[in-house]
């Protein structure tokens, strides 16, 4: 069924269709109407789940961790400083290998206070061991949530589904809502190998010694480092699992099929722009205009940011002369995080021209600064025509200083 509604409703419908059993959320700023919608579904009996209102985002994630430890499918959502307040529990959920799904409705972080969109909140959480999926429109929000549950539960690693605050969260556009039967056939119930059980009590994630140990059965059990190694190993393997989840999704629903990134007019492109989220759709307008002006340029929209599909991304960019990364976030003191990741992915690559592409980095739209099509056009045109003349530091678009 096609409906027109907000991105938040798309996300809430995805959670409902995925039959999440526990929702815990802090209801006040910077929360979005997504969790309000879920509380309405539960209150009206449309959704069989426990809704736990809590006093902070830290508690919201703690409740989800507890719920998932008992074998329940759990979900939460937050934004900006709320996400940062969760930070300690974010690491915990990954180390505890709980397949939580969390929507991060991207907003800038304080100080100074802002409520508007950028990507600093979720980008700053990239090293926590969570997976991160960035989506570009409402269809990808609802589909992304459903796929996220499957991926998280197959690899037992939590995942953030990130979508732009306001630009997507509060915008109305059409999207297809799959039927509950379709989703049930795609996504099996959550069945962890171990769930807390009074008949088989266990201590989870207690102080773990630097070295391995013998457990009560006399079996060698992991030390801290083995547990962390396995998280890294499974994250790297999750790239392939994501490929498989996406293929199964496409087979059943007839949509998607781009597990790592989505490209537009990249086939013969000499220059490729790269970005995350709705900005990469906005850039399509600029690509069309530049193509009309005779410049062979395309856009790569990265969906899976963690684990970083480095091989696939390097393959997609290796033959370009230039790569231009547009980011709404910054690793302060250096450059955009995505830009650094892309440079690292390209390091071992020799493209068909036996030369690595140059990489330019633009920072824009921080704290909701309006992104004008004309500015994007100017920046991309400059990068495509003046080649590698830019310095190492990222360039800012729309800055009025």
């Amino acid at each position: 069924m096609h409906i027109i509604d907000s991105g938040n409703v798309a996300a809430a419908l995805g959670v409902k269709l995925s039959r999440a059993q526990v929702i815990a959320a802090y209801p006040i700023t910077p929360q979005t109407p997504l969790t309000e919608k879920l509380s309405e579904f539960i209150e009206s009996g449309d959704m069989a789940a426990e809704y736990v209102p809590v006093e902070s985002e830290h508690s919201a994630l703690a409740v989800c961790i507890a719920a998932a430890s008992t074998g329940a499918r759990a979900f939460t959502a937050t934004s900006a400083n709320g996400l940062l307040y969760m930070h300690e529990q974010i690491h915990w959920a990954a180390g505890a290998r709980l397949p939580l799904v969390m929507c991060v409705v991207n907003r800038g972080v304080g100080a100074p206070w802002t409520i508007w969109n950028d990507h600093q909140d979720s980008i700053s959480q990239r090293d926590t061991g969570w997976m991160q999926l960035y989506v570009n429109d409402h269809q990808q929000i609802i589909d992304g949530v459903i796929k996220a549950f499957m991926l998280a539960e197959e690899v037992m690693i939590p995942i953030m589904v990130c979508y732009d605050g306001y630009l997507l969260s509060h915008t109305y556009m059409p999207f297809e809502v799959p039927s509950p039967d379709q989703v049930d056939a795609f996504l099996p119930p959550y069945k962890p190998a171990y769930a807390l059980d009074p008949a088989n009590p266990a201590n989870l994630n207690t102080v773990t010694m630097p070295d391995v140990r013998l457990d009560t059965r006399g079996v060698t059990a992991h030390g801290y480092m083995e547990i962390r190694y396995l998280l890294q190993e499974d994250l790297l393997n999750a790239v392939d699992v994501m490929g498989s989840v996406e293929a199964r999704f496409k087979e059943r629903f007839g949509r998607g099929g781009d597990p790592f990134y989505e490209t537009y007019r990249c086939e013969d492109a000499r220059f490729i722009a790269v970005s995350l989220g709705s900005l990469s759709y906005h850039l399509r307008e600029v690509i069309d205009r530049l193509r009309d002006e005779g410049i062979k340029v395309g856009i790569m929209s990265v969906h899976l940011y963690r684990p970083f599909p480095a091989d696939a991304i390097a393959q997609g960019l290796a033959d370009a002369e230039g790569v231009i990364v547009f980011e709404k976030a910054l690793s302060y003191g250096y450059e955009g995080a995505l830009c650094s990741d892309i440079k690292a992915a390209l390091y071992p690559v020799n493209g068909s021209k036996k030369k690595r592409p140059f990489v330019h980095n633009y920072i824009l739209g921080l704290g909701g600064r309006e992104i004008k099509t004309a500015h994007l056009h100017e920046a991309l045109l400059n990068s495509c025509t003046s080649k590698a003349s830019a310095g190492r530091a990222p360039q800012w678009i729309g800055l009025k200083i």
Partner: protein, 185 residues
């Protein structure tokens, strides 16, 4: 850029500009425009503060969600806004300006644009709505001057949107506004 119709809505916090734009978005989608996107430009909302939202309509998917800079149509829910800011900024030549105003048509001239005015506040009260409920009426005024949208589809979309909140009165307000809109330029 692909062909699209761009309607910018200006109102005040609490007037329902976003709901009105949403109703038109749904009606256009049902009328065979798969590319609709209604992008509210949010601030820290306060009742009475100026707000605006961008409605883009196309036969193709809308990829650019940035605020409208060159509108085909500007809809103004409160005529006083025209004196406060540059509401008609970027309005295309030959475009349409729709204003909820008790003033006469002669007072509005905008650079070759078609102007449609309607005193929606009084018509809404006539339709049985509480004072200040104007977002259903403004849709009727828009429909009168903008031929692309069918009034019957809009009336259905209004009834659906308002559900159990006076759907018949809201539909009537839209119809009264449609019948009483004056067009000049």
């Amino acid at each position: 850029m692909k062909e699209s119709i761009q309607i910018r809505w200006h109102g005040r916090g609490g007037q329902g500009a976003i709901t009105a734009a949403k109703i038109v978005a749904k009606a256009m989608f049902q009328s065979g425009y798969p590319g609709v996107a209604m992008v509210p430009t949010f601030g820290t909302e306060r009742r009475g503060a100026p707000v605006f939202t961008s409605l883009k309509i196309s036969k193709d998917k809308i990829y650019d969600l940035s605020p409208i800079e060159r509108p085909d149509i500007v809809v103004v829910l409160d005529h006083v806004l025209l004196e406060e800011g540059n509401i008609t900024n970027g309005l295309k030549e030959g475009g349409i300006l729709v204003v909820n105003s008790p003033c006469s048509l002669e007072e509005y001239h905008y650079n070759g644009c078609t102007v449609a005015i309607c005193d929606i506040n009084s018509l809404a009260i006539k339709a049985g709505l509480p004072e200040g409920t104007i977002n259903s009426g403004i849709i009727g005024a828009l429909a009168r001057v903008w031929k692309l949208v069918d009034m019957e589809v809009l009336i259905e979309a209004i009834k659906e949107e308002f559900g159990d909140r006076r759907p018949e009165q809201n539909a009537l307000a839209a119809q009264l506004a449609y019948d009483n809109t004056l067009i000049g330029g």
